[in-house]
Amino acid sequence: MTLQMVPYMLTFLLLVAGLYAIVAKRNLVKVIVGILILDYAANLLLVLTGYRTPPAGQAPVAPILTGGAAQAQELAATAVDPIPQALVLTSIVIGLSVAALVVALAVRLYEKYGTFDTELMRNLKG
């Protein structure tokens, strides 16, 4: 296992942590936090796949065009892969809407039961 693999491994650790929170925690809010951790672990993995090593002697840069059209060639050679970044942006937006919905549901559930504890609700087990 090379040093380059370390971020990937850490990302998977994050993924497992999120899953653990969803499965093991009884508190709805903690379950929601677990969902968000899981979501961001996947985003992190996706954005990591965009990292590519540019030609020798140059550092990878963000794919943002600052110097006008003339600079485009140079940018294309050194920039990290922009596709995963676009994907992650989309995925974050989706994560946001899921988060909004799940929080709304949790608030409604709190209204009904007066608690966030899943054990005290009837259907939700695990």
Partner: protein, 545 residues
């Protein structure tokens, strides 16, 4: 073709305006029904217009920067099924949803879900499938919780949590695939995998994530926990949509695409699908017997019937990898697709009927119903037709599709691998089990002495009756799909796409369409096996030199 996605999306965003203008509850449904009818017309036209796969590059950008929409045989079949069921469910909604507030919100979510499903079946690349999956998913989470009683909220929450886990797994799988192959367009992904000499370890890890993710979406047995809560809690038309098409569009369809077009019918994945399908089929059926709640029973039945479809696809993948004759493989795939259509129609019908029963009596508990046959003749007749079709009684569609699956499995057991005797026997046994629990439904709901609640029941309004009647007629009509002439027009293109694996998928998915022109319809029936062999040869060349 992008209109198939854009129309429901635009409708969804116009709904708040319409709801404000009309004010009255019922007229708000006019726009979505009109749009769904338009979609149906468009989808049928697409199905009948051409046999060649159509690739549409959004914005005119082609590979590698463009986003493509693809309509091949399989997508067209799915689009038509989605359009039919959603139109009927919308007609049913007009009267059913009159008991709920905020009809504008309901139709908005419904149309968004429809847009998402059309997007899933038409997308040509993995990430857009994920995006549309989430569009459909988020709308359906909200719809499950629409009643805002504690049961609905809990079911919605559970559905949301498991659905989000599924989506995240799918995203992880996409990230892995992109990392290894550098492509998202799945024709290109399949090409890259074949070029690398078959799947490598990271690809198998990605496949495992995909299996878990789409398995959750399709509610196969180890991942089924959310479905029996979510489907009964939703309003009846939504249950019909969820059980009828959503689990197929977002689970089974994508799984079939992945296994055949991307992983090129890998035998290992095929075996996993066979095992999962058999488990779902048997356990779903057994659990359905014990249910006392009408809609919950139907939900477990969905798990069981989707198990049949997955089993058929898995068996086809295994058969293909082991080099069985194309006729047998084609039969299994055809059986799977056919059962998918049948189940969509009959399960939607049953859920709508359960909605009618609940509308009239106010309860879903089987032991509090009874004797409805006399009080609600139309609904009762439709309920009987749906139950008979799904449990496989001869003249109806469900019989033919189950028969075809079982024949294909038996053939595989005799000629191929001994292990297939087990799913074959279980498929037959489950058919009997299905008959048992639907007999129970009929016995408790329709026959016997009318109970207290039933005596006050009256036949439901016209819109709801019309919707169930249309689906009941369709239950008979799907049986026509075994007639060769109709089958070749409707289902065979889809079968070919599945069978052709990576090769045919690629032909349809790159800019240059390389597929040979289809034989004229008259010859097609005789030619079907020969043609699939030709496709098959093309695939084999890439694999085993």
């Amino acid at each position: 073709m992008p209109l198939l996605v854009a129309i429901p999306l635009a409708g969804g965003f116009l709904m708040p305006l319409v709801a404000r203008l009309t004010g009255a509850r019922r007229s708000a449904a006019a726009l979505p029904i009109l749009l769904a009818a338009g979609l149906l017309a468009l989808a049928v036209w697409l199905l009948l217009a051409a046999r060649e796969p159509i690739v549409y590059w959004v914005g005119g950008w082609t590979f590698p920067v463009g986003i493509s929409l693809v309509a091949d045989g399989l997508s067209r079949l799915m689009v038509v099924v989605v359009a039919v069921i959603s139109l009927v469910a919308l007609v049913f909604s007009v009267d059913y949803m009159a008991r709920f507030t905020s009809p504008g919100l309901y139709y908005t979510l419904f149309l968004l879900m429809l847009a998402g499903m059309n997007g899933v079946v038409l997308s040509g690349d993995l990430f857009n499938i994920f995006v549309f999956l989430e569009v459909a998913g988020i709308a359906s989470y909200a719809l499950v919780a629409f009643g805002t009683e504690s049961d609905e909220l809990e079911a919605g929450f559970k559905y949301l949590v498991l659905g989000t886990i599924a989506s995240t797994f799918i995203l992880v799988g996409i990230a892995l695939v992109y990392n290894v192959t550098g492509h998202l367009n799945w024709a290109k992904v399949g090409e890259a995998i074949t070029a690398a000499g078959g799947p490598t370890l990271p690809i198998y890890v990605a496949a495992a994530f995909f299996l878990m993710g789409f398995g959750l979406k399709a509610a196969m047995v180890p991942f089924h926990a959310w479905l029996p809560d979510a489907h009964p809690s939703a309003p009846a038309p939504i249950s019909a949509m969820l059980s009828g098409v959503l689990i197929k569009a977002s689970g089974v369809y994508v799984l079939a695409r992945l296994v055949f077009s991307v992983f090129d019918g890998d035998a290992g994945l095929g075996w996993v699908l066979v095992v999962l399908g058999t488990l779902s089929m048997v356990l779903g059926g057994l659990m359905a017997i014990g249910q006392g709640d009408f809609k919950r029973l139907l939900a477990y039945s969905s798990i069981s019937q989707v198990g049949y479809v997955v089993l058929a696809f898995g068996a086809a993948a295994v058969m293909r990898a082991r080099g069985m004759e194309q006729a047998a493989v084609g039969l299994a795939v055809f059986g799977g697709l056919f059962h998918l259509v049948n189940h969509a129609v009959s399960k939607s019908l049953l859920f709508l009927c359960s909605g009618s029963v609940e509308y009239a009596t106010g309860t879903r508990q089987l032991d509090r119903l009874g004797g409805l046959g006399g009080r609600m003749p139309v609904t009762a007749a439709c309920l009987r037709v749906g139950a008979l079709s799904i449990s496989g009684v001869p003249p109806l569609g469900g019989f033919w599709s189950k028969l075809i699956i079982i024949i294909a499995l038996a053939y595989m057991a005799v000629r191929g691998h001994w292990a297939f005797y087990i799913p074959t026997a279980l498929a037959v046994a489950t058919a009997a089990v299905t008959l048992v629990y639907y007999a129970k439904v009929q016995r408790f709901v329709l026959d016997g002495e009318p109970s207290e609640t039933v005596l006050r029941a009256r036949e439901v309004p016209f819109g709801m009756r019309a919707a169930t009647l249309v689906l009941a007629v369709l239950c008979f009509a799907t049986a026509l799909l075994v007639v060769p002439a109709i089958r070749d027009r409707v289902v065979t293109p889809a079968t070919e796409i599945v069978l052709g694996g990576a090769e045919a998928g690629r032909g349809g998915r790159t800019i240059t369409v390389e597929r040979k022109p289809a034989p004229p319809p008259a010859q097609a029936a005789a030619d079907a096996p020969a043609q699939t062999i030709r496709l098959q040869d093309g695939t084999r060349q890439g694999e085993t030199p």
